[in-house]
Amino acid sequence: MRRTILAVTATVAGLVALLSFKTHSSERTVATPQPSATLPPGEREITGNVANTAYGPVQVQVVVATSKIVRVNILEQPSSTTRDVQIGQFAFPKLVTETLSAQSARIDSVSGATYTSGGYIKSLQSALDNGA
């Protein structure tokens, strides 16, 4: 692979969250990470901090193997309305796809409908920082 985790970190460090969401109430701030299943040899989990967004808390976990992100688990996502859940069902898979493709030799970026998921980026950044 052309890109190492160093390059991924450099890319993510350039991510800017432009957050000026409308107010949206959510009381949940306590993360409840799912118990980790036994990981295959060589893989390790790094959990990001909880990022509070206007839509509610977001927390992600990355699974790293040989300096490469192989999976992203969404531990916490806004769910106070049906709309939040619907948005999450679309937005998070796309963000995960973009995260994984950002280090793929085959895809550099993804063009698609606007997403408003600053919390994903913040939590992902902290996961990468925690793993450094």
Binding site: V16, L18, P93, K94, V110, G112, T114, T116
Partner: protein, 241 residues
Amino acid sequence: MGTVVSFDVPFSARRDGSLDEAIRWLHWVDLVFSPYRPDSDVSLLARAEVDVDGCVPEMAEVLTACAFVSDLSGGYFTAAPGGQFDPSGYVKGWAVERAAALLSRAGSADHLVNGGGDVQCAGGRGAGGPWRVGIADPLRPGRLALVVSATDCAVATSGTAERGPHILDPHTGQPASGLASITIVGPSLALADACATAAFAMGPARARDWTESLEGYAAFAITDAGDTWQTPGFGRHISPA
């Protein structure tokens, strides 16, 4: 404006300060042009508390460009969707294009800026050839419809997928229907993004005729039914899978 911008830049852009400059530019645009900030120039102008001369000089530039795309699209693009002044449909692409230009001006030949799914790139991915930009499949979340091979160009996609039908047909005031997404590839992200919004509002049949008439820009569309079509110029942008 509530979106996420990602940069793919050479390390030189971190050393020479141009990445920081591009990030500062985007935050400034958000302060001045966000319709969600009550004290932004856009909000003040919408409430007629200032006139254009009382705004930042960039406001006149944005208004001129919005009027141009509105004319070009027969009114399917508007700086007042839903009747309220809100040029976000132009500002986002314009801001990302300008951010990429700041990197070019500092000497970067190869970079890619993605603002909420709209991409402006320069050069290619170093020795690896052109940038490969996936087009999200709006009907199959997490999957790509196809991959565009991009060098010195913009890729903009308008669709309904994340936040439901949010693009209104300015002529009816009703949500546009018929297209799941439309992607426009061309030199300028500001124009490609605004044209994608206009084409989405037109619906499939009118959008096809109109995008074929746009010189230098090519389009790829996915309808609600899952059918696809593309303008004759789009084929050369498609990257082998």
